[in-house]
């Protein structure tokens, strides 16, 4: 099938399959799935500026589905999500402007691809190290019947330090079990996530979700739901600004989303059967797979069709 806006020819079945897999990942890990969708689109031959914008558009449709499901499960902290959305939008615009600059210098494909690989390998390595250390600690991460799920991390002290950082205004987030935290800490985390979202596409949940757990100290299940809720708002803005700049092939996003819709339902349901550290450990190989797809595209110059 020809996608006239981005000038690419892709088999729609591949797009639906990628959407389905990304949908399951999104619902399960609470990340938009751009660590797989973006590299897959690049491997299909979509120019990198369209990869970024189109992935953001696809994330909007998918996150609505998953966020609604997580809200029904009580995994969304609305107050935290709304605060983060404001700073994320500013970050998304910053990232979109960087893409425009790279487009003018005609090196958007190479620079974004290299940035993608560094981020994906870094995130995967960090989450693997943290999850492995946590499991080695031998803490009881499983829940017994009738007791709430425990969510432990070997670097939980980092979140505690950030929560002690006293720079007014201080706010409390009872739905995330946070008694007191500086508003600025939340805004900085959200802004950085927004820059990655606007620059690399998708919701940048691979940055924001770990940051919410390790820096803000939000329980993993709440971080998953709140991240999805926040992504709906920020990715909507990202879609709009990138589409106006001519970086969105909405038809690719629509086709990919048909697969993602059902995958997201399945993924969100799966979170009920796994616990914090297990979810994080299962996340490890996925960014590496995305990095592998980008390296394949860069090194061979061939595109999967």
């Amino acid at each position: 099938m020809d996608f006239l806006i981005s000038g690419t020819h892709i088999n729609p079945v591949w797009l639906i399959c990628v959407g389905f897999i990304v949908g399951i990942c999104g619902g399960f890990f609470g990340v938009g799935g751009s660590f797989l969708a973006g590299p897959a689109l690049f491997a299909f031959g979509v120019p990198m500026n369209f990869v970024v914008g189109t992935d953001l558009a696809h994330i909007v449709g998918k996150s609505i589905v998953a966020a609604k499901k997580h809200r029904a499960l009580g995994n969304v902290d609305i107050k935290l999500g709304l605060i983060m959305a404001t700073a994320t939008i500013v970050g998304v615009e910053t990232g979109a402007q960087i893409i425009q600059q790279l487009k003018r210098h005609q090196n958007v494909d190479f620079v974004v691809a290299i940035a993608f690989i560094i981020v994906l390998v870094g995130i995967s390595s960090f989450v693997a190290w943290e999850s492995w250390q946590t499991l080695k600690m031998g803490k009881n991460t499983s829940s017994s019947k009738g007791k709430p799920k425990r969510d432990v991390s070997v670097i939980a002290y980092i979140a505690k330090r950030f929560q002690r950082f006293h720079f007014p205004p201080m706010i409390s987030l009872p739905n995330s079990d946070i008694k007191q935290i500086s508003l600025w800490t939340i805004l900085v985390v959200a802004y950085v996530g927004g820059v990655f979202s606007g620059f690399l596409g998708g919701g940048a949940g691979y940055i924001r979700m770990p940051a919410m757990v390790y820096i803000l100290g939000v329980p993993t299940h709440v971080a998953v739901g709140t991240d999805l809720f926040e992504v709906v708002i920020s990715a909507s803005y990202g879609t709009l600004t990138h589409a106006i700049k001519g970086n969105v092939d909405i038809l690719i996003a629509l086709v990919m989303h048909t697969g993602a819709a059902i995958g997201a339902q399945i993924g969100a349901t799966l979170t009920q059967y796994f616990h914090g550290v297990r979810i994080r450990l299962a996340f490890v190989p996925l960014p590496l797979l995305g990095a592998g797809l980008i390296i394949y595209g860069l090194v061979t110059g061939h595109h999967l069709k």
Binding site: F3, I16, I64, I244, V248, I250, L251, L254, H257
Partner: protein, 81 residues
């Protein structure tokens, strides 16, 4: 979960997947296939309009497909009972 319950759960999931695939197949050929030319025309003429239209399309599809999958799940579960 007992083995029979697991099998029933897997069966209903597969039924849902097949029904959903039929809907998506029909939607793809009836709607998306013919949308391409018109969307390209809007993209070339007015980027701002295209931006809002793109956002509206993905939001509407998101809500519509979520409703469809929820209805399908409900129908299959009620049939199981």
């Amino acid at each position: 979960m007992s083995r029979s319950k697991k099998a029933a759960s897997l069966q209903s999931f597969l039924v849902e997947l097949v029904v959903y695939a039929i809907f998506v197949f029909a939607y793809f050929f009836l709607v998306l296939h013919f949308l391409g030319g018109w969307i390209k025309h809007v993209f070339d003429q007015n980027k701002t309009l295209y931006g809002f239209m793109a956002l509206a399309l993905i939001l509407v599809q998101g809500v519509a497909l979520e409703t469809l999958t929820t209805v399908l799940l409900r129908m299959i579960r009620s049939r199981e009972r």
